[in-house]
């Protein structure tokens, strides 16, 4: 468990880091929880012309009037620009109309493959996880993929137990070989660090470690021998402005960890 060190929570730092992955004018496959908040922050601050797409069939370009617990909560319908069938929004994704997608997962490996299906042998699993949902589709078809998950040696692994959502497979050329039309992971954001992918080796490389972590903490808690990028640095802290917008949407810290709650680490 990662301890908060400032007047923001690690969850808030992760949301802000995720929001910075969204560029203005982009079509974003949003997902739930932290990415949903990241989209709200980006939309209000640096990416006002971005459009959010949800796999239940909702497309919206204004933030919701209330915090969402799921993408199908009624406040996500009101004010949407389109409420349609899943096949239509998945079609946007498959055609190549979606710039960036966000997914979570239980494990990610050094080539950005994500497991959200089984821990252990899939035939006799130690843990049966909920499954892909839309994550495998987003990982297959979006132009860029951002993966968000908690950090740990059993979570950031050399090779995932089950490749639910394809990253770069076993390395360079793999996506093209299996027939994926485009894309691949561009960042992994954890509660300790931010990784980016080397375009030559397709490997996750450490770019930032969060304030309160040391480089050593991150290396020790990662399940493969991590390469550190030239110029790697502490993760830039969230600005007052970013925190302000984020807390408008999640004042109680439902998804980012309550700053006043007694059960905080």
């Amino acid at each position: 468990m990662v301890t908060d060190v400032a007047d923001w929570t690690v969850g808030e730092l992760m949301v802000v880091a995720a929001s910075r992955e969204i560029r203005d004018g982009e079509v974003v496959f949003v997902g739930m929880r932290l990415p949903l908040l990241a989209y709200c922050v980006a939309k209000r601050l640096h990416a006002p012309r971005s459009v959010g797409v949800f796999e239940n069939g909702i497309v919206r370009d204004v933030p919701t009037p209330q915090l969402l617990y799921t993408m199908s909560d009624t406040p996500n319908v009101v004010g949407a620009v389109w409420c349609t069938r899943m096949a239509n929004v998945m079609g946007l994704l498959q055609r190549g109309d979606v710039d960036v997608g966000f997914i979570g997962g239980a494990q990610v490996d050094r080539f950005g493959n994500v497991n959200s299906s089984y821990v252990g042998d899939p035939h006799r699993p130690q843990v049966k996880l909920p499954g892909s949902g839309g994550a495998a589709d987003i990982a297959s078809l979006a132009k860029r993929l951002v993966v968000i998950l908690p950090h740990g040696r059993h979570r950031l692994v050399e090779r995932v137990d089950f490749r639910t959502s394809p990253g770069y497979g076993d390395g360079p050329g793999w996506r093209q070989r299996v027939g994926l039309p485009r894309g691949g992971p561009s960042a992994v954001i954890t509660d300790r660090a931010v990784f980016r992918f080397d375009p030559q080796t397709c490997e996750a490389v450490l770019h930032h470690w969060h304030p309160g972590q040391s480089l050593q903490d991150v290396l020790e808690n990662t399940g493969w021998p991590v390469r550190v990028a030239d110029g790697a640095s502490p993760t830039p802290e969230p600005s007052e402005e970013e925190l302000g917008v984020l807390r408008e949407y999640d004042p109680e810290g439902v998804w980012t960890g309550n700053r006043n709650r007694s059960d905080r680490p």
């Binding site: 994704l93 130690q126 839309g134």
Partner: protein
């Protein structure tokens, strides 16, 4: 509006007993987290149906409940768990330990579920996609085959059609013949409705046919495809219905805590399903929180005019 002798408008109990036989393939939860027909799932549990195959994109906790109650032999779903609270404890007990019975899982993805139902709706044996290439998800050869584009030779995944025995779908309003209006996110509802042999509708309101015909673009599917219409207000709680009630987030959290153990699950089932004869009694058991969920911010659409 009372039920007609030979009409489609029937009580939930009758709709389930007629259209959800033992071993049936049932598609539910097609809008994703909204409009989940929990009342129908609970009636299936009360009627002790066994060996069902459940089909859905994500089901939130409805599939977890049916699995925990021992009704299910097989699940074809992209995601099974508790969307806002975490893993599905009953699903884990069944898939990891065979409690109360083993359940076969056919891994799939949301898009693949949509394509399988769309193929079923179109009456073709499969549809191709470029999703899931290189993923371990499509490992069941009965559901997926790898192939290639006959023109370009590029790799493709073929997703086999699913034609469920019955689709149980919630709608805001229906006429007595099953011409129904659905609004909000549609998910895979149209495909599921058109792919299935029978369609059972759970309607918040049953309205005159003129209401439906005043806005034919909002109709889910024509009534001749619908086998039964059930007037079931509140039938989707704790999931939301746009225009009618909000999602009961706390109920999912409570379910998550209560069902951590097998005993806890059985107790939960007794309280909310087995000891509850019908949906009306369930809503009474909810008490004032049900009233609170129905206090909404109005957001009417501008009317459309089909002038001719």
């Amino acid at each position: 509006m009372g039920p007609r002798p030979d009409g489609k408008l029937v009580p939930l109990r009758e709709a389930i007993s007629r259209f959800v036989p033992e071993g049936a393939t049932v598609v539910m939860g097609t809008c994703l987290e909204s409009l989940i027909p929990f009342a129908a799932g609970h009636e299936i549990i009360r009627q002790r149906r066994r060996d069902l195959t459940l089909v859905g994109p994500i089901s939130d906790v409805l599939f977890d409940q049916l699995i925990g109650a021992g009704c299910v032999a097989r699940v074809v779903a992209a995601w099974v768990g508790n969307v806002s609270a975490g893993l599905g404890h009953a699903y884990r007990r069944a898939t990891e330990h065979g409690i109360p019975r083993p359940v076969e899982v056919v891994d799939t993805s949301n898009f693949a579920v949509a394509l399988a139902l769309m193929a079923g709706a179109l009456g073709v044996p499969y549809l191709p996609t470029r999703s899931l290439l290189g993923s371990d998800v499509p490992r069941h050869a009965e559901a997926f085959r790898f192939s290639e584009d006959p023109w370009s030779g590029e790799p493709l995944l073929l997703v086999r059609a699913i034609q469920p025995d019955v689709a149980i779908l919630a709608v805001q309003r229906s006429d007595p013949d099953g011409n129904a209006h659905l609004w909000g996110n549609l998910g895979v509802t149209e495909e599921a409705a058109l792919a299935s042999r029978h369609v059972v509708l759970l309607a918040e309101e049953v309205v005159d046919p003129e209401v439906i015909r005043s806005d034919p673009n909002r109709v889910l599917l024509p009534g001749f495809k619908v086998s039964a219409v059930v007037h079931c207000p509140g039938g989707c709680h704790p999931s939301p219905v746009p225009g009618y009630y909000r999602r009961d987030h706390a109920f999912y959290e409570e379910y998550h805590r209560a069902t951590r153990t097998e005993e806890g699950f059985r107790e939960w089932l007794r309280t909310w399903v087995l000891e509850v004869p019908d949906r009306q009694a369930y809503l009474e058991r909810l008490g004032p929180r049900w009233e609170a969920l129905r206090r909404l911010q109005p957001a009417p659409a501008a009317p459309v005019d089909y002038a001719w």
